[in-house]
Symmetry: C2
Subunit: 195 residues, 2 copies
């Protein structure tokens, strides 16, 4: 199993977390982000969208972080991290979708603008980020996990950029449910620190 | 089965397409978009993120279009529209993720800016939209469908805003694979015209 990544990528961190939680060994393939190796033809054969992470397992390649989580959960996790019953699977996947949507375009991109990694409309990103946080808090104010009563790929997908919300200048003071959930995740056995 | 929607929502159209393809009867609940009914407390109890569509089936509510597709495919479609083997499911879900990511923030938002529905950075959206189209074309230039040799929720999720790419001022002239795929989808039995 090979994971193509950059050290700082939060989307790659989602997959590193999942590999760690499942105890699956893997090889890291570090891309040269400053020199845009992720946009070069060799890597575009692996990921046509030119983003990290991508996960390669034999002949199979997955170039989207949520697809990597689905693959790992289904292959190595039984039904613990992603159940297959229709309503249960959809419940998990709607939170995974939030991670790829409002969390990415709000929290991740807002942080990226503030760090000078990308250009864009900071206020617009922060407005989307507030929707992400409100949506998460609506669940976590009175539940331990995003789906069911246990951690799933829903939690793993949302953690990396929610934990960095303050770097998008969206502090979590008003979101006690989210703050407690972050600590709950970080206390899981086999949790991989950001590092 | 109740589908909360606005008539013009492409994300709701994904779910209408899937309900049609599966032959599942449902009731439409139209929200008053100009008066922001989707941001009012009553609807926020159904969708905490304040977006359409949401799908209600008995006690279950799903407030993300991709989760609605997962639910319907798994509940009514056997393994035809979303298989459960790890690699097969991940392959479908990575295209569904593209629909919620580059297709939404590129094609949908670029179109929305041009139509005066939303504000934002048109050039930035169009750049993301071009990544979406290049990624789709990389597959469709020599395949009929996004995953496997049959239509899945991957195709359904991407159709609505890709078919309107020209309204984001991203014409499909240079994307023959995408153009043929759109026609292939529109020729499916039980296809719901945009209407």
């Amino acid at each position: 199993m090979k994971l193509y990544l950059t050290e700082s990528s939060g989307n790659a961190y989602k997959v590193r977390l999942m590999l760690g939680l499942l105890g699956v060994p893997y090889e890291k393939v570090l891309l040269d982000f400053p020199n845009k190796e992720h946009k070069q033809p060799a890597y575009l054969k692996i990921s046509p969208r030119g983003q990290v992470p991508s996960l390669q397992d034999g002949d199979q390649v997955f170039w989207d972080s949520s697809a990597c989580l689905v693959y790992l959960a289904r292959k190595f996790g039984g039904e613990q991290w992603l159940p297959i019953a229709p309503a249960a699977m959809a419940e998990v996947m709607q939170w995974v979708a939030l991670a790829g949507n409002e969390v990415q375009y709000g929290l991740q991109y807002g942080r990226g603008i503030l760090k000078g990694i990308r250009q864009g409309d900071l206020a617009g990103c922060q407005a989307i980020g507030r929707v992400a946080l409100a949506t998460l808090e609506s669940r976590l104010k009175d539940h331990d996990w995003l789906a069911f009563d246990r951690p799933t790929i829903a939690d793993v997908a949302n953690y990396p950029y929610v934990a960095l919300a303050h770097e998008a200048e969206l502090p979590l003071d008003g979101y006690p449910g989210i703050r407690a959930w972050l600590k709950r995740l970080e206390a899981l056995p086999k949790w991989t620190p950001r590092g």
